[in-house]
Symmetry: C2
Subunit: 420 residues, 2 copies
Amino acid sequence: MKTARGTRDVYGEDAIVRQQIVKTLREVFELYGYNPLETPSLEMYETLASKYAGGEEILKEVFKLRDQGNRELALRYDLTVPLARFVAANPNLKMPYKRYAIGSVFRDGPLKLGRYREFTQCDADVVGSASMASDAEMISIALDAFERLGPDVKVKVNNRKILDAILENAGVEKGKAEAAILSIDKLEKFGKEAVEKELAAKGINAAAIKKLMQSISVKGSNKEKIEKLKKIADSSSVEEIESVLKFAASKKVEFDIALARGLAYYTGTVFEVFLKNSEIKSSVAAGGRYDKMIGQFAQNKREYPTVGISFGLDVIADAMKSAKKEAGSSVTKAYIIAIGQEKKAAEIVAKLRSQNINTDADYSGKVGKAIEYADSSGIPFAVFVGKKEVAAGKIKVRDMKSGKEKMVKISAVKDYFKNG
Amino acid sequence: MKTARGTRDVYGEDAIVRQQIVKTLREVFELYGYNPLETPSLEMYETLASKYAGGEEILKEVFKLRDQGNRELALRYDLTVPLARFVAANPNLKMPYKRYAIGSVFRDGPLKLGRYREFTQCDADVVGSASMASDAEMISIALDAFERLGPDVKVKVNNRKILDAILENAGVEKGKAEAAILSIDKLEKFGKEAVEKELAAKGINAAAIKKLMQSISVKGSNKEKIEKLKKIADSSSVEEIESVLKFAASKKVEFDIALARGLAYYTGTVFEVFLKNSEIKSSVAAGGRYDKMIGQFAQNKREYPTVGISFGLDVIADAMKSAKKEAGSSVTKAYIIAIGQEKKAAEIVAKLRSQNINTDADYSGKVGKAIEYADSSGIPFAVFVGKKEVAAGKIKVRDMKSGKEKMVKISAVKDYFKNG
């Protein structure tokens, strides 16, 4: 009896740390005024297959199924298309609509290391706001979230309009711009030479490639890059990135003219969040502005300027190895071992739980086995409730890591665990 | 663009209250020493179709699909079979294994009021414990959870072995016991007469029905019922229920000899949690002991005595109407409206967020529209940051419900929202 291919069970410290990450992201999203939205995992196939959605590439990876009424259904492959469907179906929604969603998404794609067919996305989006303050808010959310989570990050930010202007300025034909962007997107991963080769293979001439590579390789501070760009790109796109960088002022934010992001539906700001000092090179969160997509879903063809961010729970969890070590493999803090004194032990258990201290207990009387259980389960403290101890109004607490034991007054036991 | 049949979007106060319920259940589960386990929504079809799993009835409602490798998959219809698969696949798991799981399950069944094809279960189970203290722990978890959630509840508890003994004692043939239990299960819903009719239709003779109905209609306190039963059922089954009632001593727990619970896999304790003073008559949580099922999944055919509880998130959310009213439709507590003073406003926003106060802001300068937004979004406080106010080191806070306004010192604003 195995898990389905490309899926897995998550338990022990992995599950505990995932919960912590989800809790933190939820808190940060709400701190910024985003409200929860739960859409189903199951959608009508036609919704996901809409030409305004993720495109051909992603449709190949959709899990399709039928209900008993023979309706064509599918498992969602992201949380963005369901958001678009929801907004389109609720025309009276107050704008800007700020929502977050945390849930499983499904892609029946080829399996690579660290990629799963069922994985969790954590998204926040502002629908109905064209203000660059919203784009900057996404970056602030990312910085705030990772500040709380621990790992040090840098944010790379760009604007699709700048890329478009650079491509035009370099002399790349309009029909080849999309293909060129997909190649540029690989610069960080595969290097300059490989990208130049790919661009040439796509039929872009040598002069255009040279000019293009020069433009996207502009060096300097964010400010210096912007000054240089003003000579190439039109002022409105440069103003947008200037505005985002002003609102999201942080040393951790870098304007990267080569950043493209794969998805075709982005229309303005794009950004990716990377770990500093980590062997994990893929982004841990990313997003951008997509002003056209949601409006295409709506019957009234109204425009819904939208910007969003998506956190990859699995990759963030992978990055948080030290947190896992700290979390241990059990949520339980105290393991109460009754040595004959079941009633007193049960009282202490109830007392600790009433103080919100995670507590488990053993009443079997098999003390050695109970200690072994606490140890192998990763529970940090064992508490012995025996006749001698109870007579003295005390219990014996053993720190399972150090093996050190301490007598603690029963009346003070709740404070003992609260403080340490 | 509609949601798939039998599914729905959850947003506004509904989504906020669901989050609160999930958070509370998670806290209570962890308080009792249960660790998180995440199993996939997708399982191999053969796992769910195993003869030890939910049975024919439930298999009819399974959503089936295939991956690109043409493997037969299915969406899980509960969280119990995946637990059994997980335990069987991990023979080195330390027993007792206490886990909780919160997630979507899927049933392609007929649609009735309040029933969905995708819904959320919140389960806690102890695997590998035969102790009645574990059965009682399930009841304590239910009482503790509803104490925190608000709604007043009663718990009905019984033991399958007692039902078996009563059936035998009444002279119901062994081959008809299972069918008789399914009829008895309908007593609360359809009344005595209907059940008697159904039993007769199942070929049980009048004398047996009479004796059976007498036994399950025994009245009195829990203690009185137990005394009466000792004359009918064998002592071990009565001892089990006595033990559970001793560990889970509460006025809210009622021994109900007619309680059966539909599922065939229960082997001992069964219980259901009902709301007091509510129009909702179906149970809000339920569970029981199923000692045989998990062992059947394991290759080593080892026994895994197990007891569990499942909370129905949807029905609990329905019951928490007053909580919804209190929660309102937004998580945001303060809506900062900049009247020209963008920089000062942004500072106040950052300050409030750093104090973990959910804050949103408007920098558009369109004050009337911003007030209307705060009002219709259900945000309780609007905060005006204008020139005159800032010059005086103050801001103006409006209580959106009462309309009352108050000048608050900027230096004290975080305490203002913390305290009320």
